[in-house]
Structure formats: C-alpha cells, structure tokens
C-alpha cells in the first residue's frame, strides 16, 4: 500500500468538513448542530496538523491547540445559550428559535 501523504489527510478532513456542514444546514436539533460545528472544527484541525507535518514546523499544531481552546469556549457558551433557551421555550429546535423574527 502506498505511503500516506498529506493529500490523504486532506481528503479525510474535507469529508469531515462537508459532513459537518450538512449537519449544520439540515438538522433541527441544536445539540446536533453544535456537534456538527465540532466536526467542522476537527476537520480544520486535521488539516492544520497535516500541514504542520508537511512543512515540518509546529505552527499548525499551535493553531490546532488554539482552535481546541476555542471549541471549548464555544461549546460552553453555546450549550449555556441552549439551556437558557430551553428553559424559556421548552424546545431545542433551530427553526423554532425565531424570537427575533416577530
């Protein structure tokens, strides 16, 4: 079997990214939308680490670490909003989050 090159990783990352985008765009459940965002971030991370490996420096890995920090912050804030919203409207569906459309 051929050696694994950067391209292989990029293909995997692209697949994850597209799946994440599909999840964000089509699902109603906010929790799953948030999880899809995590998928997208992971795809990006994978790209960055693959490039880091390709160029033989650590910048990609550094970016990945910051993105993971960002993901943690995003998850905390996002889920906080979700819980607050669920308390008020008792729903976690994206298309019912329409208070601003009134």
């Amino acid at each position: 079997m051929a050696d694994i090159t950067t391209l292989h990783y990029l293909v995997v990352a692209a697949a994850l990214f597209v799946l994440g985008v599909i999840g964000v765009l089509t699902r109603r459940n906010v929790v799953i939308v948030l999880m899809s965002i995590e998928l997208i971030l992971n795809a990006v991370n994978l790209n960055l680490v693959a490039f880091s490996h390709m160029w033989g420096n650590l910048h990609g890995q550094m970016f990945t670490i910051f993105i993971i920090v960002d993901a943690a912050a995003e998850a905390a804030a996002g889920l906080g909003i979700l819980i607050a919203f669920f308390r008020n409207r008792e729903t976690i569906n994206v298309d019912e989050i329409d208070l601003l459309k009134w």
């Binding site: 799953i32 995590e38 490996h53 550094m62 990945t64 993971i68 906080g80 569906n93």
Partner: protein
Amino acid sequence: MNPALNSAAATMNTGMAPVATPWFFYALAGAAVISALFVITRRNAVHSALALIVTLLSVAGLYLMLYAPFVAGVQIIVYAGGIMVLFLFVIMLVNVERSSKERQFNRIWPVGLAAACALMALFVSALVKGRALFPERLVKLSEGTNTQDIAKALYGDAGRMGQYTFAFEIASLLLLVAILGAVIMTKKKI
C-alpha cells in the same frame, strides 16, 4: 520565523518506527468519517454524541500518526473528556425523548444539502487540481520533543517571550469570558 520551530524537523527522532501506517490510517479515517455520518443522521442526540466521541478519538489517532502527540493528548483530554461530557450532560437536561420523535431535518434541508454538495465539489476540484502542490513524502517532525517544542512556542525560551505567548494569554481570557457567559446564562438566579 522562530528558528526553534523549524529546527524541530532537524532533531528528528529515528527511534520510533511507524507501525503499519497505511492500515492504521485507513482504519482511523474510515472510523472518523463513518461515525461523523452517524453524528448527523441519528435521531437520538446521545447516539450522535457517542458517534462524535468515536470521531474525535479517531482524529486523535490521526494526530498521533502525524507525530503530534501533544495535540492528540489535548484532543482526548479536552474534547473527548471535557466537551463531550458537557454535551451529554446538556442532552440529559433537555428533552431528548420528545425531540427524537419530531421531524429531524429542517424545511430548507434540500438547499442545505445542495450547498454542502457544492462545497464538496469545490473541495474535490481543489484537491484534484492542487495535487501537485503536496509533496509525496511527509517531513518527519520530532516526536520525542514535541511537547517541549510546543511549550517553547507557547511560553518562550530562555527568557524570551514565545511566538504564541500573547495569543495564549488571549485564549485564557476567552475561556474566562466563556465560563462567565455560561454561568450567567444557565444560572436561574444570580
């Protein structure tokens, strides 16, 4: 550019022979993509979360294969051990039972799917056309000193500020803001 970062490639650790690399790659990549598919298709959010954990762990495995052990460790400890527990916690608090019986996809799903497919087409064309840009063989990063190198970039070395020290501090501020925001939003009365 910080010389410490580039010299990492030079001090390559030759002791670690990669183990059956292609097989591991295809197994991990397959697991990641298939469970990602599960993430966006399951009705039950807990099943989605479990699938996402598999994806995250597979990606951590891929990081290990890319000689980025520290990132892999952070991925496991922060993503799989922290963020996903938070997700599961929230799923238990909100009513999964009801939402899993409802319509799963929103009304504009064909549009979303089409947009995503267009994006995929873009990716495919970019990858096919740009194939020549990527070298056939990967440069081997030093795995043995990976953590130490990252520490030098983050905290600086020999009294000098590291390249990412400022960003690191900003990130800590971001986390603090996120903590405060989450607490304020979820607490019933403050």
